[in-house]
Symmetry: C2
């Protein structure tokens, strides 16, 4: 389950990549549009702009505030006014939200132009920018619009992580940890030891986490089967994001969601009782990540949001990705009654570790 | 250059098809959304609804008023609220605008659901609903958003044409005539003889016109080459539509655009002077179609709109599809000066046949 980075040339990870002359070798055709979030450090925008010379740059609201139809509309009208052509390109420089939006723009503007993803967050590198999913949110839920459109190239520069606030870095670690849980248990300890925060160790660790996703996506690009395992922790995560009106960052929501899925895995009893309790791993991650505290959640509301998850295709109960053991995911529909009983225990534990209050 | 309709089962044309039990054999998965324009006769909506049992129906503003991002937003939020799932379907019942929008919705909602096109206009049958292009308009121009996403199935019922006002039928005839001009000159006379308006002759004539497009699209689905020939007449057509703020119907704009392209073809001199002047054919069509009269056009404004056409990828001049002779299209970039000189002659002729006033 490792991905051969040398075999493909469209995904690169290398310190200094976004500040190198290599950028000017990327084919921007008749001219590019550069999309980036307003909280992106100016030096990164400058570094990329000076080598790509975009025809137009569009500054976006931060995080998921850019993944709306109204921002999409603003962006595509701006591209049209700037004369970006079918033979041109769209570049997304920033976190997962920006690359999700930029990918959707590139997939739909003039029925598709080149798309370059330059993820600058850990979450973008190990998850959002790779694998070909593009997305916008609707009022009804996250990522309800999108396409499967692989980027022309994804270039990651781990130096970009130096400018991230620590909570944002640890937020993104959730997706790397998730890849460890579903396929590479050897990644879990290094992440908790802080190797993603260390310039000497992070590149190979990020690469290993990316390789889990890339291998799965290569076998199942349009989520007919195993790609769904990448949604481990995401059913509750999306519900928490909706319930908090997007206030809870995605990677923190995933950390809570993974712990919830571990709880359900344990309850459903496929887990070998002689092995270490799976919830120990997900709890250790929560304690390490220190996400924003949850409060005043209404289970029925969460349930409604979980039902809306786009993976719930005509099932009775709600479908979750669970773990038989570390590295062994499976899908399971679970009925409301069991979810409600487990929720009380889960909430109890969060209160105990100081992550929940009424 | 004929398409074998028996070899594929996803495109059907048959009188009575949308009023038959065959409809209930289409796989709607976990449930469908039916999109149709408000000017669709109630009996057609009823006929389809009663056999498909959609989970939700969305009534749309007529013609291109439905191809906006704001209507798209309304539709996808409605689908999400109604619980249309990834395993569900979207049906577009109506003219080309509705199938363009419905196709875009189906291609992007939950990253893609089944899409059924039931075109009820001539323009929809011979052009918009077949070939896999979906589209929305932007303020900056027509069809600037979209995807290449073939429909799961396209079902045409020529009986739907009985309810169309005559000008709408003759409008749609422009695309059939265009297919004749670029590839099947034998279709031209039957169209001018009114065979598209006759229940006994229309089905085979529509099928022949569809086959021109389907053959081209089969060889070049994403418009890397010859598919561009299908845009014969469309460069000026899109500019006229923009200039008149969408007031000029598409098929009428195409009729004017074909005549303009014939003028340019003649001027560029590839046309064999010993053969019949190409402008005779396109003028005969204008006289038969009797489109809305043009007035007060500003050439510089038209030029600006023509430059924005998405086929103009980094060329000097504006790219047109021209005809060497009947059935022999080619691409040619033309400089502004020549366009301006020819415009005066073209306008002169329109005034002469009563189709232009200042």
């Amino acid at each position: 389950m490792t991905y051969d980075f040398t075999a493909i040339n469209n995904i690169k990870i290398e310190a200094g990549l976004l500040n190198s002359e290599a950028l000017s070798t990327l084919d921007m055709g008749s001219g590019a549009a550069l999309l980036y979030p307003e909280d992106m450090p100016e030096c990164w925008v400058e570094s990329v702009s000076s080598r790509i010379n975009p025809l137009v740059s569009v500054r976006l609201p931060p995080r998921d505030a850019c993944k709306t139809l109204s921002i999409y509309s603003h962006v595509v009208e701006t591209l049209a006014a700037a004369g970006i052509q079918r033979s041109g390109a769209v570049i997304g420089l920033g976190g997962g939200a920006v690359t999700d939006l930029a990918g959707f723009v590139a997939a739909t503007y003039l029925r598709g132009v080149r798309f370059y993803a330059f993820p600058t967050t850990l979450l973008g590198m190990v998850d959002a920018a790779i694998g070909g999913k593009t997305a916008l949110n609707l009022a009804a839920g996250k990522n309800l619009l999108g396409t499967f459109s692989p980027a022309t190239a994804v270039w990651c520069d781990p130096k970009a992580l130096d400018t991230l606030p620590r909570p944002v870095l640890r937020e993104g670690a959730a997706e790397a940890y998730k890849h460890g849980l579903i396929a590479r248990p050897d990644l879990l300890d290094p992440i908790l030891r802080g190797e993603l925060e260390n310039a000497n160790t992070r590149t190979s660790l990020i690469q290993a986490a990316m390789s889990v996703k890339l291998s799965i996506v290569e076998r199942d690009p349009t989520e007919q089967g195993e790609r769904a395992f990448l949604n481990f922790g995401h059913t509750l995560a999306h519900a928490l994001e909706a319930h908090t009106d997007g206030q809870l960052p995605h990677g923190e929501a995933v950390a809570y969601g993974m712990h919830w899925a571990a709880h359900l895995s344990k309850r459903l009893g496929k887990t070998d009782p002689t092995k270490t309790d799976l919830t120990m791993y997900t709890r250790a991650f929560l304690e390490w990540q220190q996400p924003t505290m949850l409060h005043g959640l209404c289970f029925d509301q969460l349930l409604d949001f979980m039902k809306k998850d786009k993976k719930n295709s005509g099932l009775s109960g709600i479908r979750f990705v669970l773990l038989e053991k570390l590295g062994r995911p499976y899908l399971q529909a679970i009925e409301k009654d069991l979810l409600e009983r487990e929720w009380l225990l889960y909430r109890e534990e969060l209160i105990e570790i100081g992550l929940y209050s009424e």
